[in-house]
Symmetry: C2
Subunit: 131 residues, 2 copies
Amino acid sequence: MNIGDVARLSGLPAKTIRYYEDIGLIKPQRSANGYRSFQTSDLHKLAFLGRARALGFSIEDCRQLMTLYEDQSRASADVKHIARDHLKRIDAKLEELQQMRVTLAALVSSCAGDNRPDCPILADLAAKPEL
Amino acid sequence: MNIGDVARLSGLPAKTIRYYEDIGLIKPQRSANGYRSFQTSDLHKLAFLGRARALGFSIEDCRQLMTLYEDQSRASADVKHIARDHLKRIDAKLEELQQMRVTLAALVSSCAGDNRPDCPILADLAAKPEL
DNA sequence: CTTGACCTTCCAGTAGATGGAACCACTATC
DNA sequence: GATAGTGGTTCCATCTACTGGAAGGTCAAG
């Protein structure tokens, strides 16, 4: 398979696939003409990567997950550890965003949004005594 | 005030303040020795920027908000528009993260996390028939 | 033989900083 | 006056995870 084929099948852009090879996540063979030649196993790995990335795992997480994926004698605890850490980061990010949302929503609803210059949003950004 | 002073007062790292000057968000004067010389108004702007960034506004949003902040004849509608757009992006991000969280939490809790190699997390990443 | 779709590499850019090197300025002390 | 320490300066590189584009090679069809 050429890169266009695996791009279509995996849903990843060709650019991204080349990038993944660049950083060593996959190692496709080469044809005589210099084209990358993908095996079914490469396609599986790319699909794996696509799903892991969609779940927000970092590239480094993906690298570790790929290693574990290929290690038949892995301990599921190792995988779970990575996933749980990532879950924690997601929870932290969620909390941060929710706090932002609360504050921002309050500001938005307090602003008249008309032609007058008075704006509680700017006022708040300009000077917030405490908190 | 030197950069260290405004850094302490605004809570922003000196590096970040230099960066903000670099990209034109602030324009501090210079002393004879070449040091940046910050006015109180610069400090206010930096505090403004710090709060806007803490609310997740992009640098470009901040640039616009700063312009509106300094324009005494602005319409509050313009500010509200930026804030509401940002709120929408936050909501989208929140939804995305929440979906991730649901999927990931299910995977984590389904994994034994012991010494055996069987791992639903890897199994799921390796092949997800539909969805 | 040419067209077009595909492939290749390489270089630059994105957002928003951050780290470090090399060097200059100021103050205090010995 | 030499020195140490702190703070300032610039510039260049690095981070994440790609993405865009240029310049050019390859292949099948008409």
